[in-house]
């Protein structure tokens, strides 16, 4: 674990995640439910998030990235592991203490169509957090606060009495962001915030999020599957595969010097629009699908789809650490990667 804090700067992390585990039980029987197994959605994930930075989390569907988000928000109870917010373990909090912490960690959801209540006005939606945390804004000033928030996210403050259906997808996502900002949190967890939006609108929302980060010194945990957007917005990037962190490092380390085969395959599979950039680019096409998280492969979880897999990979689980061969070297390849045979491979990335 010492590894984790070492490569970052001297700053104190605002959020520390240690060995986070979430298993969803699989049961059989109607009256007498007995557990027959577990879906290991998140299986020992650790990372740090610093003040004012953006940590991107990428991975395919089912890799557990959204479950991590829910665990950080305490929307799901972790099976094991800890989440430290400013040194305090919040994963086991409940009641009033949990409520107090949640004020500082807010979330923006993927689907702007279903995450806003269609029967509430925009003013009620954005102002609802104040009902739960009245200390942030006294009753009389709430309306004004909401209008300020609408202005901050680039919507007309006069829209306060409108309903969600009167807005487009991009505008709705702005409403979702305004709601996330209402309590002046320090951390915002964004779970695929732009993937439901049209291409021409995505850029607008990304720009808004970057502007807000600078303005309010926010820390983002940015979960997405679009690698080029993650690269654009993130300071550091973590790659997840089947409930584990495969590789984590700064954006340049991950995108220019990936050492984990999965990251390399993921990057090479990204469709690149520019034909010149595509020429001479090697594409690694993985065979098969992601195995079931209920029954993950032994040893390294990626070995069933990996072209480098050897005997060792099925027996010994590779740990997330700076690979031996790169230790102490002044190279961008010297970042944490969970592979026995970590090596650099030139990938013309996104």
């Amino acid at each position: 674990m010492a590894e984790l804090t070492k490569n970052a700067t001297e700053r104190e992390p605002i959020l520390q995640v240690r060995n986070l585990v979430k298993h969803f039980p699989l049961t059989q029987g109607i009256l007498f439910k007995k557990q027959v197994g577990a879906v290991k959605a998140v299986d020992g994930v650790s990372f740090d998030l610093y003040q004012g930075e953006t940590l991107g989390i990428v991975g395919e569907s089912g890799c557990g990235k959204s479950t991590v988000a829910k665990l950080l928000m305490n929307l799901e109870r972790a099976t094991a592991g800890e989440v430290f917010y400013k040194g305090q373990d919040i994963s086991k909090l409940s009641g009033r203490a949990l409520k107090a912490v949640r004020r500082n960690i807010q979330m923006v959801f993927q689907d702007p169509y279903t995450s806003l209540n269609p029967r509430m006005t925009v003013g009620d939606i954005i102002g609802e957090p104040y009902e739960i945390h009245p200390e942030v804004a006294p009753k009389g000033s709430r309306r004004q606060k909401v209008q300020e928030l609408l202005d901050v996210v680039g919507l007309n403050p006069e829209y306060i009495n409108r309903y969600p259906h009167q807005f487009s997808g991009g505008q709705r996502q702005r409403i979702g962001i305004a709601r996330g900002l209402a309590l002046q949190p320090e951390i915002i967890i964004c779970d695929e915030p732009v993937s439901a939006l049209d291409v021409s609108v995505q850029a607008q929302v990304i720009n808004l999020m970057e502007k807000l980060q600078d303005e309010f010194n926010l820390s983002y945990l940015f979960i997405a599957h679009d690698l080029s957007i993650v690269r654009h917005i993130s300071d550091r990037v973590g790659v997840m595969y089947l409930g584990k962190m495969a590789e984590i490092g700064t954006d340049a380390e991950i995108y220019e010097h990936p050492t984990h085969p999965y990251t390399q395959a993921l990057l090479s599979a990204v469709p690149v629009p520019d034909p010149d950039a595509r020429e001479g680019r090697e594409r690694i096409i993985l065979t098969g699908d992601v195995p079931s998280p209920a029954n993950p492969p032994s040893g390294c979880r990626f070995r069933t789809r990996c072209w480098k897999a050897e005997e060792k990979c099925s027996v010994e689980e590779p740990l997330l650490a700076i690979p031996e061969r790169f230790k102490g070297l002044q190279t961008l390849a010297a970042h944490e990667s969970a592979c026995h045979f970590a090596e650099e491979k030139a990938i013309l990335a996104v």
Binding site: E60, H225, P273
Partner: protein
């Protein structure tokens, strides 16, 4: 100028859209394109008025050729495809004008029965969401075999054998063992392969794939796209690939048609569009993709929102969002001009529906 006059404008300009596009045909095609869409118009009756989803779209596809239709939601790209297939929700939808010629014959004039015989047999469609397009209560073998039983009168036993053969063809491992499995027992990528198998079953001449990989993960996306391209080459089919992702089309398409608010705003052979777009909308789409050298800078964003189809702006529909819009853009609908080099040399297959395409392409 009324919007419906677009076809007349075309005549005035001397060159129609389908002529521009047919120049782009690659060597493999015969003289008559497999499919010609000519000035197609589709509208939907809604409570708030008539929404003009497609306003005079023309394109053509030859055998062995891939046309990518690129556009945002509401641009009319899927509705055009539905009109071609004859699966438009009607009412409220209605083809209000234009022709769709398949092997030279206008299929919009055919009877329902004739069109039903075309579907599956001669033209087939692959949908975005394989899970909701497959019937959950029938095994995939039944659903694949149904193609042969209904269209070819095959026996149940033969149909099953054919189904296994097809599953092999789309590289589903252990096809024989899995033919009796139900859709929910397959992963997303596998389900999409089954959709592809179903579309290919009767060896159609034309396949329309509507966002075939949008619901899939990137690593699986590449597998499925490669498979589709490979089978298309093998069977020399025409392929219309509908997508919103500029990256997906780059690898497989021969030519691109970019749609906006129910019209084609730009057409070009695939490689040229990225280098030299001739319409500000295409330019904007390309610029809003995050690039390496822009790290830490603000992304370029097209301002505003796609138009409401009930109230398409007068003149060029893109003008309210266009950084270069002039007065003429707000009054006159630009037709799809052929695009030429500065010295007047023709650029085959290129067209732009922008009054200022010259400035756009030549800087």
């Amino acid at each position: 100028m009324p919007r419906d006059n677009i076809s007349k404008q075309d005549e005035g300009g001397g060159v129609t859209t389908s002529e521009i596009l047919s120049v782009a045909e690659t060597g493999g095609g015969s003289a008559v394109p497999l499919l010609e869409v000519d000035n197609l118009q589709v509208e939907f009756k809604t409570r708030d008025g008539v929404a003009k989803a497609v306003n005079g779209v023309s394109y053509s596809v030859s055998a062995g050729e891939t046309l990518a239709v690129l556009g945002e939601s509401g641009s009319g790209k899927s509705v055009t495809a539905q009109a071609i297939m004859g699966i438009l929700d009607s009412p409220p939808g209605r083809v209000s004008g234009g022709e769709v010629r398949f092997h030279g014959k206008d299929i919009l004039k055919m009877s329902d029965e004739e069109r039903r015989k075309l579907r599956g047999n001669k033209m087939a469609m692959i949908f975005q969401d394989a899970l909701s397009s497959l019937n959950p209560v029938y095994s995939v073998g039944d659903q694949l075999g149904e193609m042969f039983r209904v269209h070819r009168g095959a026996s149940k036993k033969d149909a099953k054998l054919k189904a296994i053969e097809l599953m092999d063809r789309v590289k589903i491992p252990a096809a024989k063992a899995r033919v009796g499995d139900y859709p929910h027992q397959f992963s997303g990528g596998m389900r999409q392969r089954i959709m592809i198998a179903m579309a290919l079953a009767l060896e159609p001449d034309l396949i329309i794939a509507d966002e075939p990989t949008t619901a899939l993960d990137v690593t699986v996306q590449a597998q499925v796209m490669d498979l589709l391209a490979e089978l298309q080459r093998e069977m020399n089919m025409g392929l219309i690939l509908i997508t919103h992702d500029l990256g997906v089309v780059a690898d497989v398409a021969d030519k691109i048609a970019v749609m906006y608010a129910g019209r084609i705003v730009e057409t070009a052979p695939v490689h040229e569009i990225y280098k030299r777009p001739s319409h500000p909308y295409t330019r904007g789409l390309l610029d809003s993709i995050p690039r390496l050298d822009q790290k830490g800078q603000e992304l370029y964003a097209i301002k505003g929102l796609p138009p409401n189809l009930l109230r398409i702006p007068a003149g060029c529909a893109f003008s309210p969002r266009c950084p270069k819009a002039q007065d003429i853009c707000r009054t006159e609908i630009p037709v799809l001009h052929p695009v030429t080099e500065q010295d007047g040399t023709e650029l085959p297959g290129r067209g732009s529906a922008c009054h200022f395409w010259k400035e756009q392409i030549h800087g």
